[in-house]
Structure formats: structure tokens, C-alpha cells
Symmetry: C2
Subunit: 361 residues, 2 copies
Amino acid sequence: MGFEFSAGKWQRLRSLTDEQGRFKMLAIDQRGSLERALSRAGGGNREITTEDMARAKEAITKILAPYSTAVLTDPLVGYPYTIQRLPPRVGLLLAHEESGYQPASAGSKERLTELIEGWTAEKAQRAGADAVKLLVYYRPDMSSEMRKHQQDLVRRVGEECLEADMPFLLELVGYALKEPGENTPEYALKKPEIVIKSAEEFSRQEYHVDILKLEFPSELKWTREFAGGAFDGKAQEAVYDLKSVRERCRELNEASGTPWVILSAGVDIEEFLTQVSLATEAGASGFLCGRAIWKDAAPLYPNMEQMEGWLCDYGVYNFLRANASAHRAMPWFRHRRFGGGEGLGLAQKGERWHREYAKAR
Amino acid sequence: MGFEFSAGKWQRLRSLTDEQGRFKMLAIDQRGSLERALSRAGGGNREITTEDMARAKEAITKILAPYSTAVLTDPLVGYPYTIQRLPPRVGLLLAHEESGYQPASAGSKERLTELIEGWTAEKAQRAGADAVKLLVYYRPDMSSEMRKHQQDLVRRVGEECLEADMPFLLELVGYALKEPGENTPEYALKKPEIVIKSAEEFSRQEYHVDILKLEFPSELKWTREFAGGAFDGKAQEAVYDLKSVRERCRELNEASGTPWVILSAGVDIEEFLTQVSLATEAGASGFLCGRAIWKDAAPLYPNMEQMEGWLCDYGVYNFLRANASAHRAMPWFRHRRFGGGEGLGLAQKGERWHREYAKAR
């Protein structure tokens, strides 16, 4: 059997994991959500400048990156202002999309993703990134026209990464469309299907995705076991139980045709740790997590002493716990896509390799 | 003061060091010298195939790379056949030159370097390398025409690296020209000048060198303290003493306008450890070492069990000792070129960074 990798993808994927091939990655590419959090800090409604964003990102990167196997940041502020805080031997992913989304049309709830203008996979490679990350809002049941827009976008970035021989990490995020909102029993019931079907779609080879970054395929807060308010103190009605959540995790792992990691979507840390534990139990290869780990630092801005103090005390503690929860994660190269890891090798070999590689360029 | 780095060079230089910014790097890019060693194994004179080279390189890489901060290999056999043995979080350098040298003309002792045809800094970058390495044979007193050839070659590769935003590591190796041979008192006396003046020349900004890989600027075997045969059991006459060797190391550090590492040139391990200790005491930022660490494994080929056994027992031990000898090395970013490390940052910043970066491409 075996699986053959192209040189650049293989070499860079290695840079994102721990020694066992597990992803324990920090996300600090937030723009809109971080700006809003900083703006609200201290109860105020401050105007947030690039310098504010740079200072907050620098503090978070400096203190938490040493505990990660790789850091995802953005090429707009994160890269130019905080890259000097990346420790040696920690991988780097760069975001490819503009923050947030555009409504498909006035009043539409459908969300369209936009790429960062003037940024390319080739620039990311030149700047030393180990992977391109793209976040796409997606509903398998969105209108066919808008679905095609999102699919085309992913395909385009996939081809761009293929051309540059760069790993491609695709993040898929669902949202309420016909449902009254994301924090509703209707959405909790719909979510598994959204997450699983989206993973299935973008596992197709035409998208050239190397790692999927996925939402947890259920809402733990709506399970019988946790609906009493275990995570946030708010009791609500249960719509399913933990046994079915485990089943959804297994289905998601089957749907994902490539190694996958779990994202945090800013849930509280205890809930995230449970998600990581359940996802990796089902076959996930780790996590890529931002807000669940560091979000409580943002309200302390601009008091850097307090903010850094919180990060050193609680941020590091959160990260260490997340790493421990991902302890049993599937090494990415053991994923069935690669035949379980036996016989992995390079697609191009032999004495003419160095001549043939990227000949077209 | 401060010093401003371009993005890709900075990000990749970080990947080559330990957490303190020290280089502890393994060289397994040998071609001619490894082929000769394998050929002589077992007292025979076997024909060595690509497969032989690949197997030997794979064993050495697999067993020693985990102890290194980065591995230097070649893009001909090393990369395509052994890259799957690089552990996560170990940097990668790729050789840019053909093995060995060409005589400047029939009967000439002057050595000319050739680049690997069909290989470029851009391909190295695409393949996930963190730096380009070029070995150049050089004598400051070679004929002006041949000196120009070697200088032009370095300048060309320096510009290629600048264009690709890739770190450039330049290795300089001297050789006997008017002297009767390298292992002679005449050459031992000449060597400090060769090493120091070569480092001085290629520290000029026009070559765009980021790291120099340099020979030890004296011959320890010809010092009063070690001439009795301390390293190899052969007694010879002393031509200088350790005090003057220390002085030459200091001069070399002053001559090197950029961080430098020491090479082993295949000396025995005890001699190499002393060289590392003296060089790092004078300001070197670590080592890039091959044969001094693993050369005694080659004669065991093709008995892989014996070869791997030796590497696990003695190779690893040698590497650990070399790492310990480099313990006090100067973190590369503390080099005076960078103003001692204060105020290091990126050359390009601001909100238009991502647009302006590599605009020309």
C-alpha cells in the first residue's frame, strides 16, 4: 500500500506536531473577535488600533507559544508584529481569509468567505509558514449558488497550495440558517449533520485538503449529562446524551478522509477539554485552539501586567491541560488515508528528483 | 540600534537552533567522502550504488537527527531517500554545490566549486528547507581569476537566497597550494591566515551570508600541548601553542561579521570537542558536524545491525558530548551584527506588510 507525499507538504506537516505526530496548536489569528473583546475591556467601548491588536497578540504569543507545537497567526498584524516572539522549533500557520464573513445578499443569513487581498500561498511559503489555513463558513444545505461559491474558494486555495507544495489546513464553521440561533435546541440537533456532512464534502480529493479543522460535532451543553449547567452554570433542556455524542464523533472520524483537529470556537475551557478528550478518543489528531485557552486575558487589556500575569498563571495551565487531553490523539501519519503509516514515502524519488521537482516554475 | 530582518530569513533561522539560539547541527550531505568510506568498508573496494548511499544516510539520519537542532543533507540522495527519517521539530539545510571540486586547469592545485545543476534556492524553499548551504574551497591568495570565480559563485547564491528570502549558510574550506600538503607544519602555520581572511572576505555585505561555517583556525595537533599525539597517537613537532590558538580564535570571531559555526572536517571526536570548546569560547554560535561524530560507522557497512548498533552506542554519545561542548555558544541573535540582540525586528512592518512583501514575484 503506502502513500506518497510531495516533498514540501511532507516536510512542513512534520513541523506542526509533537514528536509523536500530534497537533497541539495555538490560534492567535483572531481579528474581529479579538478586537471586540479588547474594545469591551474594562467595561468601556474603546477604539482599538493596530498597535492594541499587536500588543495583545504579542503577549499571548510570547507566553503561550512555548507550550504549543505550532502557532496560527494572521499575516496582517500577527506576523509582522509578533513573529519575533515565536520560540525556535514551533511551527507556523498563516490565515488566508479576511476576518468574519459577508452576507450572501442584503438580509441573507448565508455567509460568504473572502480571501485576504494581496496575500498568496507563495508569500506564506516565502515568509516561512509551514501551512496555509483557510476558514470557511459552510452549511451543506445552503443555497446551491452560495455553496458553489464556498466550494470554489476552497478548491482555488487547495490548488494554490498544491502548486506551492504547501500543506493546506481547512477550517469549517457552521451557523444557524433556518434555526432561530446557534444557542438553541434546534441548532444543537442540526449541528452533527452540518459538521459531518461538511467534513465529508471537503475530504474529496479535488480540494487537496491536508488537515481539517472541525467543530465538535454536537453540543455538550445540550446533553443529558451536562445540561444541568456543568460548564457555565446555566441549566437547559437536554436534546441528546453523551452516548449519541460519542457516536457522532465516530461518524465524524469516518467522514473525515484526512487527519483532523478540533477547534474551540471560544467555549469555556472545561467544555473544550471534554471536547478534545472525546474527539481524540474518536480519532482526531489533536487541536488548534485559541479563545478557550486565552479569552479571559482579553478583558484585562490594556493593563499588560495583569494580562501577562493571567496568561502565565491560567493561560499556561489551560494549555497544559489541553495538551494532556490530546495525549491519546491519533498521530496524523497513522490516519487511514496514509494506509496506517506503513510505507509512507515521497512521491518523487531517484537521482533525477532534484531536477524534476517543481520543474514547471 | 537594532537590526531588521526580512521575514523569511528570520523565521527560518529560528528553525535551526535550540531554544537558546545555538546551532547543534548534523551534516549528512557528504557524497564523495561517504562513497569512498563505504567502498573501503570491510577492506574491499565495492562499487557503491545510490541504494548504498541512501541506506547509509538513512541509518545515520534516523539515529542521530533526534539529537540535533537541524540536519544538513543533499538534495540528490539525502532528501528524497531519507527525509522520512527527520523527526518533527528538527530544521533542514540543503547543500547547493556538487560534491568535491574541479581543478582550475589541468595540473592546477586551485579548486573550483560547481553548483548542482537543476537545483535552486527556490526549489529548496519549496521542498521545505530552512536554509541553503554552499561549500566553497577558498584561498585568499589564490590567483585573482580563480578567486573571482569563487567570489562570483558565492555572490550569485547569496543573491538567489536574498531573492527567495532564504537563510544562506556559507562553508569555507582551505587547502594546500604552495605548501607540500595539508598535514604539514607549513600548512599548519598558514591555516590561521587562510581561515581568518576568508571569513573576513565573505562577511562583506555583498555576499548576503547569514551564517558562516568555518574551519578551526589552527591545527591543534601542531600545538605544543597536543603535539605529543594526544588525539591520534602520532607525535610531531609543535609549531605554536594553545595560547596563540586561542588568539587566532578571537581574531576569527572578530573577522566574522555574522554568526559562525565550526565544522569538523572529519577530525577525530576528541579533537573536534576541543575545537568546539575553543571556538564557542571565542564567540562561535555552535557547530555543524558530520564525520567527527559518525565516521566510524561507515566501515561497518553493509552490516546494518552493526552500523546501527555503533551509531546508537557511540554516535549518539559523540553527539551528546558535542552538544555539551557547545553549551556556552553565543546565541546567534546576540551577535554584534544584530546590535547584541536588542531591538531585533522585521524589516517590513505595518498594515501593508502583506501586500508589499515579495511584491515583485
